[in-house]
Symmetry: C2
Subunit: 133 residues, 2 copies
């Protein structure tokens, strides 16, 4: 049993609060943190940020399922995910994915696959808040 | 011109000192931090850690070249690399690669390619320090 199981959450808290959701490890040679950051432009227009809303009970269930399934593929991995909801200003992160694996190739692949599944399967909606008008 | 150019270094300082070598950005939607961590076993035996040594002037030149070449492929990226030398205990990181790009696929590819080139091209040697004997 892992003393530090995988983790997922969805709330209006900044992703930085969850950087330490996984402890450092002597069994994992690769540790990746991916931040998905709100950019300052959308379709060429300057924006203030993005307002994220979710069907929350379903979104957290989907996040948990994605993390659990990736975990079950290889129980030696650790995965932590936090998706922020509410208004996220340009330059701030709306998503954190942290992955720890024995070797690096698996860490990159797992983190990227986790991101792909979140984008495809989690019911979170984005409303762009423009700077002018 | 980027207000925050890419960065590379080689020293006995912990990688955590260099996490902020790149500032947060409103132009980069993807921000990846890769930590290469010393594991507690080597060939099935418990270890205390790894002692890294380098032909330093050449190693830093190679790190700089790798970062510069990846940067030149796309000037909109940012890349920061720190490789630690000296003794690194099991559970601590010997390598940090941070990459910021507009979109996520490029961030994963760039970070992974940077790691591949560091392993292949930078003259750093590892001496395993075993726990027993």
């Amino acid at each position: 049993m892992d003393e530090n199981p995988s983790f997922s959450s969805l709330s209006d808290l900044p992703v930085e609060e969850f950087e330490r959701a996984l402890l450092s490890s002597v069994r994992h040679g690769a540790d990746i943190r991916f931040h998905g950051v709100v950019r300052e432009t959308e379709a060429g227009r300057l924006i203030k940020g993005i307002d994220y809303s979710a069907y929350e009970s379903m979104a957290i269930r989907e996040l948990e399922r994605i993390v659990r399934e990736l975990q079950e593929e290889n129980p030696d991995r650790r995965i932590a995910v936090h998706h922020r909801v509410g208004f996220v200003a340009a330059g701030e992160a709306s998503l954190l994915i942290r992955v720890q694996t024995a070797h690096s190739a698996e860490a990159f692949a797992t983190c990227q696959e986790c991101l792909r599944r979140i984008k495809a399967q989690v019911p979170i909606w984005k409303r762009v808040v423009y700077r002018h008008g």
